[in-house]
């Protein structure tokens, strides 16, 4: 950073206001639509209602201090939700990344047939909205209507359970893996295509097999891509919401506070407790920020190049 500034001897040619003018629309929008709402949520998290008046009474908004936070943090359901989210993330992220890398390497491998078809087919789920994907998979999981159950029955196999207490984690994870492998695969694949091919030729002449070539030469060269896609997968997993929230109406195994984001949604849109929702939001945002920024700091030099 410092070196970069020192190099730019001609910096005086740029009037100070110019970069700010370029960024003005973005800064104004970000301030009004990200920073301000966050601040407002923080304000709401310290508010609550009390009832006054006769009869049924009327609820009035008042300041309640840290009450909402204490309620959220003392709520075991919230903490179990965090636990479930972590289990889900531990399943989803590694499998998504491994499959994306595997398919990217196979598509980059010259001997593989049907590469164009494979690339498009595996990318298709990215175009399907998460809510629709969850609905489709949900129909395919449900015992009475699942084609898998029908098929297993016809073959005389035991009926698979997709929505049992343990299998439900994999079933939810499967929906988001299905939706995100293709995107990550294309990112990694494009990175692979950008690598200089001469290296491969040299390795082949040295007698490397295609598998060695892939693991020892290609993979190390796309580590920045792996780091970034991995990071976004982690962020996505921590924000998991629409998949389990769609399944909640279909099965007894998923509760309305199954993961933290579902609880926020439930408080804000079902049980009508905006204040508790705000407090939970602030807790989640705080934890996510601290964790992600720590992770980013570790990776920053590598992932962001000149960041």
């Amino acid at each position: 950073m410092r070196a970069a500034i020192a190099c730019r001897s001609s910096a005086s040619l740029e009037p100070k206001a110019v970069p700010w003018l370029f960024m003005a629309p973005a800064i104004l929008l970000a301030a009004g639509l990200i920073a301000l709402p966050l601040g407002y949520a923080a304000w709401l998290s310290f508010r609550g209602t009390r009832v006054s008046g006769s009869g049924l009474g009327v609820r009035r908004e008042v300041f309640v201090g840290f009450d909402n936070y204490l309620n959220v943090l003392a709520d075991t359901a919230f903490l179990s939700g965090v636990g479930r989210m972590l289990v889900y993330a531990l399943i989803t992220v590694p499998i998504t990344m491994l499959l994306a890398l595997l398919f990217a390497l196979l598509l980059d491998n010259a001997t593989t047939r049907l590469r164009r078809f494979g690339r498009i087919a595996i990318f298709v789920p990215y175009a399907v909205p998460g809510v629709i994907a969850a609905l489709m998979w949900g129909f395919m999981y449900l015992p009475g209507v699942s084609p898998f159950t029908d098929a297993a029955g016809a073959l005389g196999l035991p009926e698979p359970t997709f929505l049992g207490p343990v299998s439900v984690y994999f079933s939810v994870a499967n929906i988001s893996i299905w939706g995100s492998v293709g995107f990550n695969m294309v990112v990694l694949y494009t990175s692979l295509r950008g690598l200089p091919q001469e290296v491969y030729d040299a390795a082949r002449i040295d007698g490397s097999s295609e598998i060695q070539l892939a693991l020892l030469i290609k993979v190390p060269m796309i580590v920045p891509g792996l780091v970034m896609t991995g990071l976004f997968s982690i962020i996505g997993a921590l924000q998991v919401f629409s998949e389990p929230n769609t399944l909640v109406t279909l099965t007894n195994t998923i509760s309305s506070d199954w993961v933290p984001m579902m609880r926020v949604y439930r408080d804000a849109f079902v049980t009508n407790d905006l204040f508790s929702a705000s407090a939970a939001s602030m807790v989640i945002t705080g934890v996510t920020l601290v964790a992600s920024l720590a992770l980013l700091r570790l990776l920053q030099r590598r992932a962001f190049g000149e960041g």
Partner: protein, 433 residues
């Protein structure tokens, strides 16, 4: 990549700008002229409601109504509360009966006693109770939903099962059917349907909420509710009933293929069955709910909705007039019956010719609506609390968990009671334990 020229980029940017201007132009249509026709906005989730509103708009050119069907019955309270906070309330909205107390305490539902007060004799009793608090009317009731037991005549005949009139008989039929055909169930216990459970508990005498001088009492864990919970717990534990959730594809399939031989439903059930399971048309029959004590027949409440005029309306007079028209006029009720299904809360509406026939699901049951009126008579009075969504949500979670973990409904009911009380207190209400 070299096919692009600078001009493309410029056009791209220009396009963005043009799109922005276009949108600015079409987004500013919210204002109403001071004179001339006024426009009322009305939120409802009922299907085909547009067609009914159209009838009004044709005959009332001065008071146009715009209907919005965005929000489902389960979310209407949350969405209206947010709209109230934002100063953005519609003029009128539909609400479920159990959502009404929350709308009253949030100062959203306006007092409409001046138009509703004199209509008590023309309104069905259960609907009147659920829209009137301390002598003040807060909503025009739309319909009531007397509960029925719908069962498959052909399956009952095939296995020679009697139609249950008491809950003991119902349990016996459930077990006998399992023995006769292990592929079938008499019913499912839907852990997601707090409303059904509440209705069954009310039938047994439960009073989940009551209010006295601004003090709320929560009785979700009262003795009749525990009795009902234990009753179903035994059936679930013995696998005498299924545990699939209602309103899922799995459940629809089970009703269509006869895996489920009955459904504890309400007056609105027949068209749903007829659409989802067309092959079963003609095979169903409906009887009143089984009873705990046949000498004192009772029934609970399963759904139903009404129309509120909001405190945000600038035209309360016109809004009240529309609310009344929508739910009591022959014109509107006829349109309702033509385009949707309804069992009107306005008693004169029940004389409409369409409501003297049998529903297409059960062509032989010509007295269906007559029984519906009779069941309304034995329906217990119900008071809903201001935190029904939270209590129902807690019910779904704890009963679902109890079904999955086989941990018993008594414990689950305790947890629901605890959550509901805590939630009421947190929302600032006075609660007596």
């Amino acid at each position: 990549m070299t096919r692009f020229r600078g001009g493309t980029a410029a056009r791209l940017m220009g396009g963005a700008l043009a799109a922005a201007l276009l949108l600015a132009a079409c987004s500013s249509n919210g204002d109403k002229p001071a004179d001339g026709p006024i426009t009322l906005t009305y939120w409802s989730w009922a299907p085909s409601i547009e067609k009914i509103v159209e009838v009004w708009n044709k005959s009332h050119p001065d008071v146009r109504v715009r209907v919005n069907t965005s929000t489902g019955g389960d979310e209407i309270v949350a969405k209206l509360t947010a709209a109230k906070k934002a100063g953005d309330l519609p003029d009128l909205s539909n609400t479920t009966y159990q959502g009404l107390p929350a709308l009253i305490t949030a100062d959203i539902a306006a007092d409409i006693t001046d138009v509703m007060g004199e209509r008590k004799s023309e309104t069905s009793a259960p609907a009147w109770t659920m829209t009137t608090f301390d002598g003040v009317n807060y909503g025009v009731p739309q319909g009531t939903s007397p509960m029925f037991l719908f069962y498959r005549k052909d399956i009952f005949e095939k296995y020679d099962l009697p139609v249950p009139t008491t809950w003991d008989e119902y349990a016996k039929v459930a077990r006998d059917l399992r023995k006769a055909d292990p592929a079938r169930y008499l019913a499912t216990f839907p852990a997601n349907d707090a409303q059904l459970f509440a209705g069954l508990a009310q039938q047994a005498g439960a009073s989940w909420w009551s209010v006295n001088g601004g003090n709320w009492t929560v009785g979700i864990n009262d003795e009749p509710s525990r009795k009902v919970a234990e009753y179903w717990q035994r059936l679930v534990a013995d696998d005498a009933v299924a545990t699939m959730k209602t309103n899922t594809p799995e459940w629809q399939a089970a009703l269509a293929d006869g895996t489920l031989a009955s459904w504890l439903g309400a007056v609105w059930t027949p068209p749903i069955l007829a659409t989802n399971a067309p092959k079963t048309v003609g095979k169903w029959a409906a009887v009143p709910l089984p009873q705990w004590d046949p000498s004192k027949p009772a029934s609970g409440v399963l759904g139903g909705s009404g129309t509120v005029v909001t405190t945000g309306t600038k035209y309360p007079k016109e809004a009240k007039k529309f609310a009344l028209w929508l739910n009591t006029s022959e014109e509107a009720l006829n349109a309702y019956i033509e385009h949707a299904s309804i069992w009107p809360a306005a008693l004169p509406g029940r004389k409409l010719p369409e409501l003297q026939k049998a529903p297409s699901l059960m062509p032989e049951q010509t007295d269906f609506y007559k029984s519906a009126a009779e069941i309304d008579e034995i329906t217990v009075p119900v008071t809903w609390g201001p935190n029904v969504p939270a209590a129902f949500d807690s019910f779904n979670n704890h009963f679902s968990a109890a079904v999955t973990a086989k941990s018993g409904f008594a414990k689950a009911l305790e947890l629901v009671q605890r959550d509901a009380v805590a939630n009421l207190k947190r929302a600032g209400y006075r609660v007596t334990e």
